[in-house]
């Protein structure tokens, strides 16, 4: 994780709500996790310990691979695709089916993370699909 990021206090409950919202938004999503700057999993779709190990490892490898801390990453393999976004002291890592709409997913991930980092529940101004009139 990047060291120069400010810490924001995010509750596990808010992180779980944000992850549930992202799952609603993205039909291609297989699983995801939200981590803080210390690599602690705030919310994960399942197996938080494994998500912590592998997501932290992926971000560390990505930081070493290029020129400093990455802001986002996208890895595509035949088995699926991995996306990661950092916002302030939070990171959101997601796994999707192959050929997911990358720009849309990055937008959704960043919106959710930005709102969460700002003290929201990840839904931003939108009340969520269930709140539509």
């Amino acid at each position: 994780m990047a060291d120069d990021l400010t810490n924001v206090a995010v509750t596990d409950e808010a992180a779980r709500g944000a992850l549930a919202y992202l799952t609603e938004l993205s039909p291609d999503l297989r699983g995801a996790a939200i981590l803080d700057s210390g690599g602690v999993v705030l919310a994960a779709s399942d197996s938080p310990e494994r998500w912590r190990e592998d997501a932290v490892a992926l971000l560390a490898v990505a930081d070493r691979a290029g020129e400093g801390p990455v802001e986002q990453l996208h890895v595509g393999t035949e088995q699926g695709e991995v996306f990661a976004v950092r916002e302030e002291s939070l990171a959101l890592v997601a796994v999707t089916d192959r050929f997911a709409l990358a720009s849309l997913l990055f937008f959704d991930m960043r919106s959710v993370l930005r709102d969460l980092a700002g003290g929201g529940d990840g839904r931003g101004l939108d009340g969520g699909p269930g709140d539509a009139p």
Binding site: S47, R50, A57, L73, H74, D97
Partner: protein, 73 residues
């Protein structure tokens, strides 16, 4: 003058063959693994799978894909 019957057949077969070749070409490009890193200033870099950094990224991503498992249908 109408074309000879075998010409029509040959044209049709070669048309299908061209379509199939284009499909296979597109599929090969689309299925190629890639790793792309984005930086705060808007820069982005591709990491080739045959570099050590690229290979590490694919291994780490593969583990995450394994953790996530299949999407429930």
């Amino acid at each position: 003058m109408p074309p000879k019957p075998h010409r029509v057949l040959l044209d049709r077969v070669s048309g299908y063959a061209d379509e199939a070749a284009a499909y296979v070409r597109r599929r090969r490009v689309a299925r190629r693994p890639f790793a792309r890193l984005y930086y705060p200033e808007g820069r982005a870099t591709d990491q080739a799978a045959d570099t050590s950094a690229g290979a590490e990224l694919f291994v780490a991503a593969g583990r995450l894909i394994e953790v996530a498992g299949k999407r429930p249908r």
